[in-house]
């Protein structure tokens, strides 16, 4: 269980990115964090594993206060928080396997990792994860040879091999096409279900958030302005989060199913629309 109390971040430039955020995420809960650019979404998830140092407030994961940890304990705590990034953030010149195994760096010593002599159990687990996302035949390819969707799946493996309790996901679909975006989101959701992981997913695509998250938190100017289920995201709520706009094409009604959400949207260019016969391929990823 993740508990955030009074989390505040003021950057050195004086910008107040987070204003005393209180948030609880239960075990196994998949939560989407939506909000306009600059609302503080990235800052919030980076304050949780302290890639960004919070100015004030506490973050605790399963009772351990992360904000109070020294650098050694912080590194140990980071092992329990897998992170998935916008633009994948793979090390492009390393192989797929090295990228996945880099998720174990917090568990092995320097020389072990320097000589790439990871324990056999880590290597087994890496192959299992790669097989789960359909990339085990790519293990020795260099990361920059992969397509966007494949790279993000490697990024997911890197986060999962850490054996985390919590996934921090930062705009996982930002540079992916609509179909791959759905596949990636579905994969994240499935894996969270399989492993009883909780996840915080920063996402700017409201439709995707509604499709794949069980809880939505709306952030605006560093404050939580909505916290509830996806089907209560009304036009009024979206207006408080993002500002005045015509939201009719964005809102997914409670009775809609996956299929309806895949109907051509007016705001998606024609060439990006999903042809109907592709649906069965979309159902499974691998």
């Amino acid at each position: 269980m993740l508990q955030i109390r009074g989390l505040t971040k003021r950057y050195r430039t004086g910008d107040l990115a987070l204003k005393s955020i209180d948030l609880d995420v239960a075990d196994g809960q998949v939560m989407a964090l939506i909000g306009p650019s600059g609302a503080g979404k990235s800052t919030l998830i980076r304050c949780i594993n302290r890639l960004v140092e919070p100015t004030n407030g506490t973050v605790s994961l399963n009772g351990a206060n992360i904000t109070a940890l020294g650098s050694y304990e912080l590194r140990r705590a980071r092992r329990r928080m897998g992170m998935i990034f916008q633009e994948y953030a793979l090390v492009e010149r390393l192989t797929v396997m090295e990228n996945v195994l880099s998720g174990r760096l917090g568990y092995v010593g320097f020389w072990q990792s320097f000589l790439r002599k990871f324990p056999q159990s880590d290597i087994d687990q890496a192959f299992q994860l790669l097989a789960r996302v359909g990339l085990d035949h790519m293990a020795d390819k260099r990361a920059d040879e992969l397509s966007g969707g494949q790279r993000q799946r490697v990024g997911i493996c890197r986060a999962l091999i850490q054996d985390p309790d919590l996934l921090l996901v930062d705009e996982p679909t930002a540079s992916l096409d609509p179909k791959t975006s759905r596949q990636i989101m579905r994969l994240i959701k499935e894996l969270c279900g399989e492993r009883k992981l909780s996840a915080i997913i920063n996402i700017h695509d409201v439709m995707l958030a509604q499709l794949f998250a069980e809880r939505i938190v709306g952030l605006q100017l560093g404050q939580i302005v909505y916290d509830g289920p996806p089907n209560r995201l009304t036009a009024e709520v979206l207006t408080t989060i993002y500002g005045e706009e015509d939201w009719t094409a964005t809102i997914r009604k409670a009775e809609d199913d996956d299929e309806a959400a895949l109907r051509p949207r007016a705001d998606v260019p024609l060439e990006n629309r999903q042809p109907h016969h592709d649906r069965d391929r979309m159902a499974g990823l691998t």
Binding site: N49, L51, R75, R76, A77, R78, R79, M81, M83, F85, Q86, E87, A89, L90, V91, E92, R93, L94, E98, S102, G103, R104, L105, G106, Y107, F110, S113, F114, G155, R158, Q162, L168
Partner: protein, 291 residues
């Protein structure tokens, strides 16, 4: 009163003309002018700077005193001098030449290796995105010190310090390598993409693991290329520093000139050219391969 009226009449007239002008431009009869804004906004400053540069150049060229008659008379002497290079004599002093070349190569390999080994920690320390403030300024200081003197000056200094011979050359080239390689390494580290490094940090990696996984793969190709380039430079410099007494092929070349054995000197120069070209081509090949 009447004056007032005239003035106001003129004003109205110009205002009217102005508005008509405006109407014409918006009617797209006359296209709107556009010119790239000048680098220096103030026209007088722009002209003054340009003019003074031209004047200074003219004066500077004027101070160079060329004695054309002497230059003319010297031409045949120059031709004789060049003729003395041919045919290059590889065999007469082969023993000295091969000793010099080997000494230069040892010096080059050792100084490149030592220099790079030292510049890796210094370069890491001098990269703002991986090193804390104090370390950063200290390492930048080392780099600045190493870069402030040309190899010849360093060689003269180290020859005085350690005596004639290749050791002075080795120290000179190693020292110069630190400044070159460390600075470029630091700059390359500062240019790395921060997001993979952030991702590695998020896994709970330690500092060394973070460098090894997040930073090193990104800088490696350029570092290999630069190592070969520095090898090339060190070999050429080893010929230069030899002239001031720091051993290697430079010392042999100096001796050949002093004894007026220009055919041997020509052989040495040809060997240097051949080795530099060899290194050049192989480094190009290796650089393409590491990409």
């Amino acid at each position: 009163m009447s004056r007032w009226k005239t003035v106001s009449r003129i004003t109205t007239a110009t205002a009217w003309l102005g508005s008509r002008d405006h109407l014409m431009t918006t009617a797209a009869i006359a296209p709107r002018q556009w010119r790239k804004p000048p680098l220096i906004k103030r026209a007088w400053l722009r002209w003054a700077l340009g003019l003074s540069a031209v004047v200074y150049l003219a004066l500077a060229v004027g101070t160079i005193d060329v004695n054309w008659t002497r230059l003319w008379e010297g031409l045949p002497r120059g031709a004789r001098f060049f003729a003395a290079f041919f045919p290059p004599n590889f065999t007469g002093r082969w023993h000295d030449i091969s000793d010099g070349i080997l000494e230069s190569l040892y010096m080059t390999v050792a100084s490149t290796a030592i220099g790079i080994a030292i510049s890796i920690p210094v370069g890491l320390g001098a990269a703002k995105n991986v090193a804390p403030g104090v370390v950063y300024y200290f390492c930048r200081g080392i780099l600045a010190l190493s870069r402030s003197f040309q190899e010849i000056i360093l060689a003269i200094f180290f020859v005085k310090l350690f005596g004639f011979g290749p050791f002075a050359g080795l120290v000179t080239l190693s020292f110069a390598t630190i400044g070159f390689y460390g600075k470029l390494l630091a700059e390359d580290i500062e240019d790395t993409d921060p997001s993979p490094a952030e991702a590695v940090r998020a896994t709970g990696a330690g500092w060394l693991q973070w460098i090894n996984y997040g930073v090193q793969p990104q800088v490696m190709p350029r570092m290999i290329g630069l190592a070969l380039y520095r090898f090339d430079i060190n070999f050429r410099e080893s010929a230069v520093v030899g002239i001031v007494g720091a051993g290697g092929i430079g010392a042999t070349l100096d001796t050949a000139f002093n004894r007026y054995e220009f055919d041997s000197a020509a052989a040495i120069l040809l060997i240097i050219i051949a080795i530099v070209m060899l290194v050049e081509y192989s480094s190009g090949y290796v650089r393409r391969w590491v990409q």
